[in-house]
Amino acid sequence: MTTLTDPPKESFRLSMLIYDTRYRSMTIQVVALIGFLIAIGWLISNTANNLAELGKEPSFGFLWEPAGYDINQRLLDYNSQSPHIRAAVIGLMNTLVVAVLGCITATVLGVTIGVLRLSKNWIIARLMTIYVESFRNVPVLLWIVFAMAIITETLPQPKDFRGEDAIATMKLGDSVAITNRGVYIPEPLFSSGIGDVSVFNDAFEVSLDLMAILALLGASLVISGLIKKRADQIQAATGVRPTTWYARLGVIVIPMAILLYVLGFHLGYPELKGFNFTGGTHLRNSLIALWLALSLYTAAFIAEIVRAGILAISKGQTEAASALGLRPSRTMNLVILPQALRVIIPPLISNYLNLTKNSSLAIAVGYMDLTGTLMGITLNQTGRELETVLLGMLVYLTISLSISMVMNWYNNSVKLRER
């Protein structure tokens, strides 16, 4: 008596793709994927068709035509006869300048404000709260336009510096001029410099003076690092740390002073000549407005991140550290901050990315960044919307991914290593 039969051999039926939960989700995903690909393909072919119908075949040849327009802030050689691609590079440099300046300032401000917001001093803590809430809750575009308006409307014009009874005067021993067209500061000059070399078929000029200074600084830092390492070893072996600060400072300062002397380093001061100040470095009003607004705005977010990071470390850590006899400053540096960083860094990355992307609002104050050159004037003068915007998006994507990569690498180096 065999009451037990084999379970019926299951054969695959098509309907199981829908009714069998084992296959259903896969079916849905495959269908969605196919639909998605069809939509993308249709989009691309449609765009290509429409462009062809308008007689606008996509092509990047225009990038090598002369741009025809001038750009005020140029970190590399550029004139109106340079090709569009070079105008785009100038714009890219300007984007990077404001992004780097902005990220640094925002971090310094943000960390300070975040820590101060936890201060036991009631007034300071409240003031920081007001700062954070007011900057966070107003769109950054308004801050940018506001900063620019303040600069152009309230600061003196260059002509106010002229004449016997001038309304405005230069600051800091006549070395800095603050005008509504921007701030002019002294610039470093080398009277017996070693000149420039051109690289990449004359595409860029690289200052050898700057290279020499950077190389020396690098070498000095390495030596200073070696001195520290030796002090660490001695401390580990004997328990006594030799005093090294003068040696470490000396290896940096003395060779640098000698090099600067040899190169004939001196400062070039701004001077009112004709319509404007000449000489010195001109930080344009658009750069300052954008830089200030982006930094102040992003600092508010960073402050909150820092505050959250510090609050995330349990009080027990502080108590344990003081029980071990660590001073409060060492507790902060050796115990709290290294742990808080793990909480702080991931959201910090996204704030750096935000700042960089927000820098494209430069257009509102006429700062010639990538959006202003490639995706602005070049787009408009050549009518190559698709090409310039695609290229621009690609560049922003590359910048953002690079920032993420560097910061993730740093994050990995500080994160908790499980043993």
């Binding site: 969605a32 639909g35 998605f36 939509a39 993308i40 249709w42 989009l43 449609n46 765009t47 429409n50 119908e53 308008l54 007689g55 606008k56 025809g68 327009y69 001038d70 750009i71 005020n72 004139n79 109106s80 006869q81 152009t152 409307e153 014009q157 002509k159 509504n180 067209r181 000549k273 004709g274 319509f275 404007n276 000449t278 009003n285 257009i363 006429g366 010639m368 202003g372 602005g376 004037i377 408009n380 003068q381 050549t382 009518g383 919307e385």
Partner: protein, 338 residues
């Protein structure tokens, strides 16, 4: 998430799918109004008044076209555009025509795929400076800070002018005329440069216009005219001949005052053809017989539009100059209506 991607893709595709243009006239008729691109605000050329009604010399061209198509000069939706957004707006079909101080150049006509239907103002680029600056010639502007609108012929001419004269300048790029005016008045730039007509119009809105002068140099040719997308010749014809109707009307002495009388029939066959009492010009355009009569009645003929908006008796005070009829030594010359 997946859903939003799909919806996004569909919207973009929808926009892309709308990219083929023919039969603009049918679209305009179906919509019941004309979408006309104008400036964001240049006194005398295109500004909204206190009631939000647009008025001005360029606006007059839009109204004439709307009147020719619908018999109603108010059937227009005005779309403010900046120097930078105007071409994208036209190419994408957001507007049916552009009447915005726009210079007819080779590359805009050929490469950007637009058709300029004519010229409604012959202009050239000039410089405005505060009188107090003591500058009397543009060649003295070495080292000056110059406000310019981006995306214009202005910025290209400027670069050429300074390079050709071996002098330098600091450009301050701005988006709109209003922004340029604000920067210039705040002294953030020494001089403001754009089409001389635009400078005159801008200066007229200043509190003390006499404190500012236009320098004598005119550094370029700026024939400003209405334009449409390349490829829809029927629509181009309508805009072209609406403009020509305004110009011919002046030449033939047809004004908004006497047009009622004249359209009863005259002994000048060209006036009769223009006003639709003779021949079938309107039918050829796909419009009613009185299309040109409506266009002229909308704001008057060319001279009336000019004098009312930008002429010598307005604060802007432009003289006809090159923009006089060819019979008066100017460049205005409409082909015959026949």
């Amino acid at each position: 998430m997946k859903k939003s991607v799909f919806l996004g893709a569909l919207t973009v595709a929808g926009i892309a799918a709308g990219g083929v243009f023919a039969g603009t006239l049918d679209d305009v008729k179906a919509r019941g109004k004309l979408n006309c691109g104008v400036t964001t605000g240049v006194a005398g050329f295109a500004v909204p008044d206190a009631n939000g009604e647009w008025d001005g010399f360029d606006v007059g061209v839009c109204r004439a076209v709307a009147a020719a198509v619908f018999g109603d000069p108010t059937a227009v939706e005005f779309v403010p555009t900046t120097g930078k957004t105007r071409f994208t707006a036209l190419a994408s079909g957001e507007i049916d025509m552009l009447a915005r101080n726009t210079t007819w150049t080779f590359s805009r006509d050929v490469d950007l795929k637009f058709d300029f239907v004519g010229v409604n103002y012959y202009d050239g680029q000039g410089f405005m400076v505060p009188t107090a600056l003591g500058v009397t010639s543009a060649k003295e502007l070495d080292g000056a800070t110059v406000c310019i609108q981006t995306g214009t012929t202005t910025e290209l001419n400027l670069a050429d002018f300074f390079r050709a004269n071996g002098i330098s300048y600091e450009p301050v790029p701005i988006e709109t005329n209003a922004e340029g005016q604000q920067q210039y008045l705040a002294g953030a730039c020494d001089t403001y440069t754009t089409d001389a007509s635009g400078l005159a119009a801008t200066r007229a809105t200043f509190e003390s216009p006499d404190d500012h002068v236009l320098l004598p140099e005119i550094i370029s040719k700026e024939p400003l005219g209405p334009l449409v997308r390349h490829g829809d010749n029927e629509w181009g014809d309508i805009v072209r001949w609406s403009l020509n109707a305004l110009i011919s009307a002046e030449e033939l002495g047809v004004t908004s005052a006497n047009i009622g009388e004249m359209s009863a029939g005259t002994n000048n066959p060209e006036i009769n053809r223009l006003l639709g009492t003779e021949g079938n010009l309107g039918e050829m355009l796909g419009l009613s017989a009185d299309w040109a009569k409506n266009a002229i009645a909308a704001g008057g003929n060319y001279a009336e539009l000019f004098e009312r908006n930008i002429g010598e008796n307005t604060p802007i005070g432009l003289s006809r100059g090159l923009n006089a009829q060819w019979t008066d030594g100017g460049l205005l010359y409409s082909p015959p209506f026949r």
